[in-house]
């Protein structure tokens, strides 16, 4: 039974969408909600480009021989898939779309602290995106998204400098978003909105922002060094000239490991909101969930060398990094246990956002547990650079981050668009995504454990791997359908969906206390907060005396 009760509003009130019209009113807007929509459109575009590359990769692996594309084209396919998905979809996804839209509203502010910098960050993203598109169309890159030296600096003949600059520019967009969030959360909270009353979505974004601020500049300088090395052969990363390729890997993973937490932490924040709402309960162990986000951000900076266990770092360093990697599992598990405890004896509703949240918990747990396998030195040596690793990080990045993103998009869609999405289709899509995802990536765990290496176009010396690869490719097509569906019915609902009431889920949180869609400054009068977060007991007790209408 859907919780959405459609009360139709006869006259459309003024809101952030219908206040102004025209291209200029969007391209020069400083309204955080409009910028969120600009991001939504642009990252959806890049998501489907990255998805297209993924489908080509899966099609090539349908047969053992390299017959659809040749090996060097295949190298470019997985490289561009990785670069587009990581830098142009996953990292901006939840912070730049849902975070931009919700952070000011959840804390009772009119806008982010620096609205013009917020717009600037979108333009930087677009400039980086255009550079990446140009790079893609004029030849692409074949190094893998990791740019490992000295291949990237001395041997590859592809457009590494241009792709690097595209990521450099987009990185500044990420830094500015994080900076804006931290200042906004510190300085713009409404009266009474204390730190312990903040929604956990805000805590998750605060932790994410810390990583964006402290991590991204390091990849920026690394790209500068790679570009300079490639142009002038300085020798910084070239062992023939006395340089050290391992230094590159250290600098690269110092950002790129915490970047995984840029993708997963906001998703955890989304899932926390959804679970509290659809279990109708205050979240279990609020402060543990809040501080586990900060702990993940801090520990996340101390584990980067677990990507380099076979690269030639010392055994003692590997031992320390292995132990620290285990430590990250603690705050992650704290979250999973707290979500489960919240569900216990909750009044659970199976609406589409909740289905995505359930999917998230299961898939993230599997991704996290296989992460522990990889943190263990002995197993890691066996499965390094196999499909086991591919399956592991897709369970985190797609099963985790993307499920949270889709769940959040459904949950807040009535607020964003002012329309209700079709609930039946949404539940079907959630189911398709979950099944398609597992069909795509579970066989890859088995493949990897049996020893199929990543980044190979041709596995004709091992034809017994074909069955599992066919399963995986079949899953990818199911997954593709699962991703197309939400885009279609979201677009459909913008015109034909029922008008959304202000609070269709009877959810807690300031963003539900304003109109759907909100006005440009979010609130008629500045809210004063006198209640704790997730006060579902109070919200539901107000409705206890009402007679339930059935049917």
């Amino acid at each position: 039974m859907s919780m959405a009760t459609a009360t139709i509003q006869p006259v459309e009130r003024e809101n952030y969408l219908n206040k102004e019209y025209g291209v200029g009113s969007w391209l020069f807007t400083t309204d955080h909600k409009r910028i969120a929509l600009l991001y939504l459109i642009s990252i959806t575009f890049f998501f489907f480009i990255g998805g297209f590359f993924a489908l080509l990769i899966r099609l090539e692996l349908l047969t053992p021989a390299s017959d659809l594309v040749q090996a060097d084209t295949y190298n470019k396919l997985f490289t561009m898939h990785g670069m587009v998905m990581v830098f142009f979809f996953l990292i901006p996804s939840i912070p730049a779309v849902l975070g931009n839209f919700l952070v000011p509203m959840m804390i009772g502010a009119k806008d982010l602290a620096f609205p013009r910098i917020n717009l600037l960050s979108w333009y930087l993203y677009i400039i980086g995106g255009i550079m990446m598109l140009h790079c893609m169309l004029t030849g692409g890159v074949d190094t893998g998204w990791t740019f490992y030296t000295p291949f990237s600096t001395a041997y590859s003949n592809t457009k590494i400098v241009e792709a690097g600059l595209a990521i450099f520019v987009t990185g500044f967009s990420s830094i500015l978003t994080g900076l804006n969030f931290v200042v906004t959360i510190h300085r713009m909270r409404a009266p009474g909105m204390t730190w312990s009353r903040l929604p956990l979505f805000i805590w998750a974004h605060y932790a994410t922002s810390i990583i964006q601020i402290l991590g991204t500049p390091v990849i920026a300088i690394t790209i500068v060094l790679v570009a300079a090395e490639r142009a002038l052969h300085l020798g910084i990363f070239d062992p023939r000239l006395g340089g050290d390729p391992l230094l590159f890997q250290h600098l690269f993973w110092f950002y790129s490991h915490p970047a995984v937490y840029i993708m997963i932490l906001p998703s955890m924040g989304v899932v926390t909101e959804i679970i509290a709402c659809f279990a109708r309960k205050r979240i279990f162990g609020y402060s543990f969930v809040a501080f586990s986000s900060i702990a993940i951000a801090v520990f996340g900076f101390l584990v980067w060398a677990h990507h380099m266990f076979v690269a030639g770092i010392s055994v003692y360093a590997a031992l320390v990094f292995s132990l620290l990697s285990y430590a990250v599992a603690v705050p992650s598990a704290v979250k999973v246990f707290n979500w489960t405890a919240t569900l216990y004896k909750g009044s659970i509703h199976y609406d589409a956002p909740m289905l995505y949240a359930f999917g998230f918990i299961g898939l993230f747990t599997m991704g996290g547990l296989t992460g522990l396998f990889l943190a263990a030195l002995g197993i890691d040596v066996h499965v390094t650079d196999t499909y086991f690793v591919i399956a592991h990080f897709h369970y985190i990045m797609v099963g985790g981050a993307l499920m949270g993103y889709l769940g959040g998009l459904h949950f807040w869609w009535p607020k964003i668009s002012g329309r209700l999405y079709p609930e039946g289709w949404a539940r079907l899509a959630a189911l398709i995504v979950f099944l398609g995802f597992n069909l795509t990536f579970f066989p890859q765990f088995v493949l990897g454990y049996l020893g199929m290496p990543r980044r190979y176009a041709d596995y004709s010396h091992m034809p017994e791997f074909q069955v599992l690869n066919v399963l995986s490719t079949a899953g990818a097509t199911v997954l593709g359908v699962g991703y197309l569906l939400p885009m279609l019915y979201f677009l459909w609902s913008m015109r034909y969906g029922k008008p959304a009431p202000d609070n269709p889920w009877k959810a807690a949180g300031l963003e539900w206390m304003t109109t759907s869609p909100p006005t440009t400054f979010n609130f008629e009068t500045e809210p004063v907060v006198t209640w704790e977060a997730y006060n579902y007991d109070e919200i539901d007790s107000a409705h206890k005396q009402e007679v339930k209408v059935v049917g």
Binding site: K110, A113, I175, V183, I213, T222, L225, L234, G235
Partner: protein, 236 residues
């Protein structure tokens, strides 16, 4: 923020022209700008941090070659530039003080002095770079560094590749620092223009303060760069 709920309708009419719509009061706006600037400087620390990390590793690995390459620089010019930048930090402090006190002439004078000192630094840096180009010490195809002895070991010649790594780091670190100086001079020129038009008052002078924070940060980077790049093993 505590009294923001009591300011009602007349709030709109009274507020300072520089107060942006989404802030409740000027103090909130200034605090936000200041926190934002400090966080930005934090990102800059991480940005330069990657370079300092690379420098540290290669300096430890190739100390003798780094010392040989370092001693081709003129420590006198480096020291002069350090003095120039410290003086410019002082004039920036005067500028911030003048803006807070509403002393327009002093503000304009301090900003002009800061800009002049900034250009002096870049001028000295340019002559140093020119000398490196003449001596073929710029990394790349025409790099030359042969038969230069390691300081303290006259019989041992410095490794050309390792010296090239030193010069690569030298040019990237000082080059990025110079780029920050150029951006700073551009910002201070804008501040000068705004000060000329009397935009800054004791109530509103946030841009001058932010410019000051940025300028001090760029100075501090140089305070680290100077000994690390110019003074390696100089006593030999």
């Amino acid at each position: 923020m505590s009294d923001s709920t009591v300011v009602g309708l007349h709030h709109e009419e009274q507020h300072h022209p520089e107060l942006l719509h989404h802030f409740a009061e000027p103090q909130q706006q200034e605090d936000s700008a200041s926190l934002g600037m400090w966080i930005f400087l934090g990102t800059e620390v991480m940005f330069f941090g990657g370079l300092f990390c690379a420098y540290l590793i290669y300096r430890l690995a190739y100390f003798g070659d780094f010392a040989a390459a370092s001693q081709t620089l003129s420590w006198k010019l480096g020291a002069t530039n350090t003095a120039v930048l410290i003086c410019s930090s002082l004039t920036v402090v005067f500028a911030v003080y003048a803006a807070q006190q509403g002393k327009r002439t002093m503000l304009i004078g301090s900003l002009v002095l800061t800009i002049i000192l900034g250009f002096a630094f870049l001028g000295i840096k340019a002559t140093e770079y020119a000398e490196k180009f003449e001596k073929h010490h710029v990394p790349g195809p025409s790099f030359q560094f042969d038969n230069v002895p390691v300081p303290g070991h006259p019989d041992q010649m410095a490794n050309r590749g390792h010296a090239q790594i030193y010069f690569a780091l030298y040019f990237i670190m000082t080059g990025l620092h110079a780029l920050h100086m150029i951006i700073g001079i551009g910002f201070f020129t804008w501040l000068l223009f705004a000060a000329w038009r009397g935009r800054f008052t004791p109530e509103y002078n946030t841009p001058v303060e932010m410019g000051g924070l940025y300028w001090h940060f760029v100075d501090i980077v140089w305070i680290y760069l100077f000994p690390l790049l110019y003074l390696i093993d100089l006593h030999k």
